[in-house]
């Protein structure tokens, strides 16, 4: 007699028992196999009890009773596997967020100062350009220049540093390099402090490492133009400006959007997800939470990023295409600029939107993502 023939239905006591067991086994590589094996046992036990004359529901409850408490069973199953259940309340430490925020503010000020040093000598109001120096491909068109009454000589600065006094360019470069380092360090601190799996932290740290590499490369390449005998500085500078810098910035923007998404979530929402800031109560809830479940829930925001990654890549591709379109022109075309703007702002905006939507959906969404999270965290 199969389960269906016996009249089993979704949501019966055995289903609920198995769901409880699955939650406690979350994070185990063979969790599905374990649950399938237990289900086979419980269904067969039920069938035999029905044959002995019991009703379906009575048989199911008896089968569960004979099988044992899910806490006891899961504990026994997990014993000796090297993956312990979480004994202590889980805490997402706040200090990495605070340090990251401070570094981000510092980086932002440095970028603004860099942009000011870059544009101010030709009289361009910095506020009207939005720190274009820091955004790699410059989102400034000829039309914009004329609209704001900006001197024509400023136009050259959207493509070259040749028209800028060396001292000014150096100050701008130093500030920008500092900003890159601060951004990379901020993200690195944030990522390494998270209780994610090592592989996740490594992947999430890539933008930070790239940013730090960019800062290091800029420091190494910082030299007077006439000292660049072989022109390697110009070549490398070109490559960084056209490819590495936009890529790093795109990734950073995306990651910072993620960070903002995290910050948008309230303490209550974190608590509902099984997370908590220090000093907030939800200890009872956490004390029995299996490590796998906690890890999965911690992963949820990262999953958001993964889900958005294809869109991010698409936007980044558009951005790079935009750079190519505008490469040989004195100023990038309007279309190219729009593509660049979308490519740069899109991922961050997308992350913020996802974060806000995520916050509104709340714990139900967290639960619905759990299974997928477990699959990815394996």
């Amino acid at each position: 007699m199969s389960g269906e023939e016996a009249g089993f239905r979704a949501g019966d006591p055995i289903d609920r028992y198995l769901a409880a067991l699955a939650e406690k086994l979350a994070g185990q590589r063979d969790a599905d196999d374990l649950v399938a094996e237990m289900e086979d046992h419980l269904r067969e036990s039920t069938e035999h009890l029905i044959q002995d004359g019991r009703s379906l529901e009575d048989a199911q409850r008896a089968a569960i009773r004979r099988f044992g408490d899910p806490d006891l069973i899961s504990h026994a199953l997990l014993a000796g596997r090297g993956r312990r259940r979480l004994a202590d309340p889980v805490t997402v430490t706040r200090w990495p967020f605070l340090i990251a925020e401070l570094l981000l503010i510092t980086a932002g000020l440095a970028l603004a100062a860099s942009a000011y040093a870059y544009w101010q000598p030709c009289g361009l109001p910095v506020t009207s350009t939005g720190g274009s120096q820091a955004t790699g491909p410059h989102i400034v068109t000829d039309h914009v220049f004329h609209s704001f009454g900006i001197p024509r000589e400023c136009l050259g600065r959207s493509d070259t540093v040749a028209a800028i006094p060396a001292a000014t360019a150096l100050v701008s470069d130093i500030l920008e390099t500092f900003a890159y380092a601060a951004l990379g360090l901020a993200w690195l601190i944030f990522v390494t402090a998270q209780p994610w799996l090592p592989v996740t932290r490594i992947l999430a740290a890539v933008p930070a490492v790239l940013s730090l590499v960019e800062a290091a490369a800029r420091t190494l390449l910082a030299r007077p133009p006439d000292g660049d005998i072989l022109g390697m500085g110009i070549v490398l500078g070109f490559l960084f400006d056209r490819f590495v810098m936009p890529t790093v910035l795109l990734m950073l923007m995306f990651c910072l959007g993620m960070l903002l998404s995290v910050l948008l979530i309230s303490d209550d929402q974190l608590s509902d997800r099984g997370l908590n800031w220090p000093g907030h109560s939800s200890r009872t809830r956490h004390s029995t939470m299996p490590w796998g479940t906690y890890l999965t829930r911690t992963y949820l925001l990262f999953l958001v990023a993964l889900a958005a990654e294809p869109i991010h890549n698409w936007l980044m591709t558009l951005s790079i295409l935009g750079v190519f379109f505008g490469l040989d022109e004195e100023t990038p075309s309007a279309a190219a600029n729009y593509l660049i703007a979308i490519g740069i702002a899109g991922p961050a905006l997308l992350s913020i939107v996802v974060g806000v939507v995520w916050r509104r959906r709340g714990p139900a969404a967290a639960r619905s993502w759990t299974a997928r999270g477990e699959a990815i965290t394996r």
Partner: protein, 107 residues
């Protein structure tokens, strides 16, 4: 007979039952119940950690099949398990004899 009384002997019973033919977990429990004339009754779920521990130790192995639309895992003893069973049986006989000698009720 409760689980505590059986502690330490469950592996021997499982190996003994599986030595005859491959079985899935529920069948192993039923066989132990049957052979003990229902004197041995442990929480059924605790059988699986023991089965998995024996498999991890390389004494038994498992295969998956499908029965009645459900996935079913069956276990069978491998050569190392057979050797271990021989050792365990001898050890058990010695233990019973020793306890019997102390209590005055030799096996």
């Amino acid at each position: 007979m409760n689980g505590n009384a059986l502690k330490g002997h469950l592996d021997l019973m499982i190996l003994s039952v599986l030595a005859d033919k491959p079985m899935h977990g529920y069948a192993v429990i039923e066989e132990i119940r049957s052979r003990s004339e229902r004197a041995i009754d442990i929480p059924e779920g605790t059988m699986y950690p023991a089965l998995h521990r024996l498999e991890k130790a390389g004494l038994i192995t498992s295969t998956w099949g499908e029965v009645k639309g459900r996935r079913r895992r069956s276990y069978h003893v491998v050569e190392a398990g057979t050797r271990q069973l021989t050792v365990e049986r001898r050890s058990w006989r010695e233990f019973v004899a020793a306890v019997g000698g102390v209590t005055g009720s030799p096996a």
